[in-house]
Amino acid sequence: MTELINRILTGMSTTMPLTRLLITILIMVVSTAIVLAVSLLYEGFATYAERKVAGDIQARIGPNRVGPYGLLQFVADGVKLLLKEDIIPFYADRWLFIIAPYIVFTVSFAAFVPLSYSDHVSIANLNVGVLYMIAISSVVSMAILMGAWGSNNKWSLFGGMRAVAQIVSYEIPIVLSLLAAIIIPASLNLRDIIAYQSGGLGIFRWLVFNNPFTLIAFFVYFIAAIAEVNRTPFDIPEAESEIVAGYHTEYTGMRFAFFFMAEYGDMFVVSAIAATLFLGGWQIPFIGGIPMPVWLREVLQIGVFFTKVFLLIYVMMWIRWTLPRLRVDQLMELCWKYLTPIALFNLIGASVWVLLLHDKGVYDIIARVFTR
């Protein structure tokens, strides 16, 4: 991003500070708008995919009327939501009620920013990328609480309380399991982490295969991540059979759509973190070492990255349409009695591994044995 702006600005003749400022902001806005458009498109297709996957699993067909194979279903849904009456309950706290969905959506979108989509494509290369993602996802709970309280509905309040308790609790196993992976490349920068995972035929140096502890960390992270994005079996904040629709009970139309899109955005983000930290990000498996033109490599890398992310999202959907929901206290039990201790011991194990073997993974050891 910054490099891009600099390149454009140095290529320009004007030296007026104001013009330069405006152009900088324009570039920022345009690039953000592109990512926003892409993420909206993704969210649309994710809702379509969700329904199609649900259909497959439930021996149904799923959406198949709007457009070829029902691919334009999300457009129809979007239009429907836009045309719906926008209801603000009389006793709602107007301001909180109105801004909450936007904050939820903004936050979920903000998490797209530090992601590294390929070698050269990323919006911002943050040094604290991983930490940023964790931090930004904790903000969601605040916004959800805002909407829940603002609705002045008891079911919403239940949902909001549940959401916050869940998100705050599950952040701990998430952070602990991510730490087990991060200590190996010793960086919070997503690009560094991906760069570390290059080589080894493109898959054997993935952090998930680095040592037994990272393998466990991956599964702990994935389970906790499903809980973090409130999906079945951990969808207690919006458990429709218990508390109607949880924190978005009172929301209609576009405001509801923002909550909905944020959920799918969050799914992408947690899957992207898993893909980046554990599954080698955009590292092309097997054929990564073959020389090829830059554009082809970039396209392949983006393709590989999205394939990994979508596979993880598919698993999330698959789990959602299979399992029943946990109860609130069982959810907490899973977090505090299972995931957190496992993640903690796992982190200790991973630290010992790193202490003894530095950053050498199982693959390195085997490779060394064979080359000897």
Binding site: A54, W155, S241, E242
Partner: protein
């Protein structure tokens, strides 16, 4: 509002709530997630069926019994027909009796499939619901061949059944019976023995045998408490005494006897037994009359009669008083769901909101029958 009241929150669950199985309203008093009291309010679906019975002739009331427990219309038809037959002393031909058993047991399966499915969707797993619906469609097709309707059959009439089964029915039923056990196995793998599902249900809302008697609980819910009481065995009607089937009782496989899991599992076991009964009946089916000679105008002698039958949801009883005219003087319907509902306030004390859903679902109440 007293100070003690301030601690609690009152929430209306229903009449429009995703998991109250119709228009049941529960006034829930909660302290956070924990319930301190539940008060069911019924009557939202009241259609004065008992009063209607006094205004229509005996045969005319049969279609109304379809609408008692609309998921088990055949069983309701059967109980009513048996009541009037007892009053009139009509001997039902053997073929009609066997046909009645086939229909009643098939409908028991289809009713339990809905119970299973809706319970699973209450628990947050939506897929089993559609699997249950899929098998139910098969049974609906069978009924449609037999009587021309898919939901309100009005097939079992006073004196026999409305018409003989057409050719192909037996073959199709056998096809279903061959296909069905594999599906039950699938349900068990998918849901019944799922750890989350067991954890949600085991030891929840345990009904002790004493409580079950006190509240007049019948059907699978009673048997789940470990009491072997099945009218098909205890007071055999039709040809049930010739048939070989087990009466499953709750054994507390996953927790205490009579918990929600036992109640759920009773239905799975009963589906297996019903399939067994239908298979035997198909073998017994011999040519004969499908209905007794019944005059068009029924004028039973003055008197009263009470007949009960084992419905999927418990004992359905018809208490009929005749004054010798063509219309009943009084008809009292003993709806099993009404008794089953009555224990919910007792069970739902000190449990969590999610458990309340499990309780309602595991009792498998149906509102049209309660409100009548």
């Amino acid at each position: 509002m007293t100070k003690a009241d301030e601690k609690f929150m009152q929430v209306n669950m229903g009449p429009q709530h995703p998991s109250t199985h119709g228009v049941l309203r529960l006034l829930v008093t909660t302290d956070g997630e924990v319930l301190s009291g539940v008060k069911p309010y019924i009557g939202y679906l009241h259609r004065a069926l008992e009063k209607i019975a006094e205004r229509v002739t005996y045969p005319q009331f049969t279609p109304f019994t379809d609408r008692l427990d609309y998921l088990a219309s055949m069983n309701c038809n059967l109980a009513y027909a048996m009541t009037v037959e007892k009053l009139l002393n009509i001997e039902v031909p053997r073929r009609a009796q066997i046909l009645r058993v086939i229909m009643a047991e098939l409908n028991r399966i289809s009713s339990h499939l809905i119970a299973f499915g809706s319970f699973s969707s209450d628990m947050g797993a939506f897929t089993p619901f559609l699997f249950g619906i899929r098998e139910r469609e098969f049974i609906n097709d069978l009924f449609e061949i037999a009587c021309g309707a898919r939901l309100t059959y009005n097939y079992i009439r006073i004196g026999g059944v409305s018409k003989d089964i057409p050719g192909g029915f037996i073959e199709k039923t056998r096809e279903f019976l061959d296909y069905f056990p594999a599906k039950i196995k699938e349900y068990n793998e998918l849901l019944s023995y799922n750890a989350i599902f067991i954890k949600r249900l085991a030891n929840i809302a345990v009904i002790s045998p004493d409580d079950a008697f006190d509240y007049g609980i019948t059907g699978p819910n009673l048997r789940a408490s470990g009491i072997k009481w099945d009218l098909r065995r205890e007071e055999p009607y039709l040809i049930y005494n010739e048939l070989d089937f087990d009466v499953p009782v709750g054994k507390g496989e996953m927790g205490k006897t009579g918990d929600a899991w036992d109640r759920y599992m009773m239905r799975i076991y009963e589906m297996e037994q019903s399939a067994k009964i239908v298979r035997q009946c198909l073998d017994l089916l011999a040519p004969g009359d499908y209905t007794a000679k019944v005059s068009k105008v029924l004028k039973p002698p003055a008197g009263e009669v009470y007949v009960r039958a084992e419905n999927p949801r418990g004992e359905l009883g018809f208490y009929l008083i005749s004054d010798g005219s063509t219309k009943p003087y009084r008809l009292k319907i003993r709806a099993p769901s009404f008794a089953n509902l009555s224990i919910i306030p007792k069970l739902a004390r000190g449990v969590m909101i999610a458990d309340l859903i499990a309780i309602i679902g595991s009792m498998d109440i149906i509102l049209p029958e309660i409100d009548r």
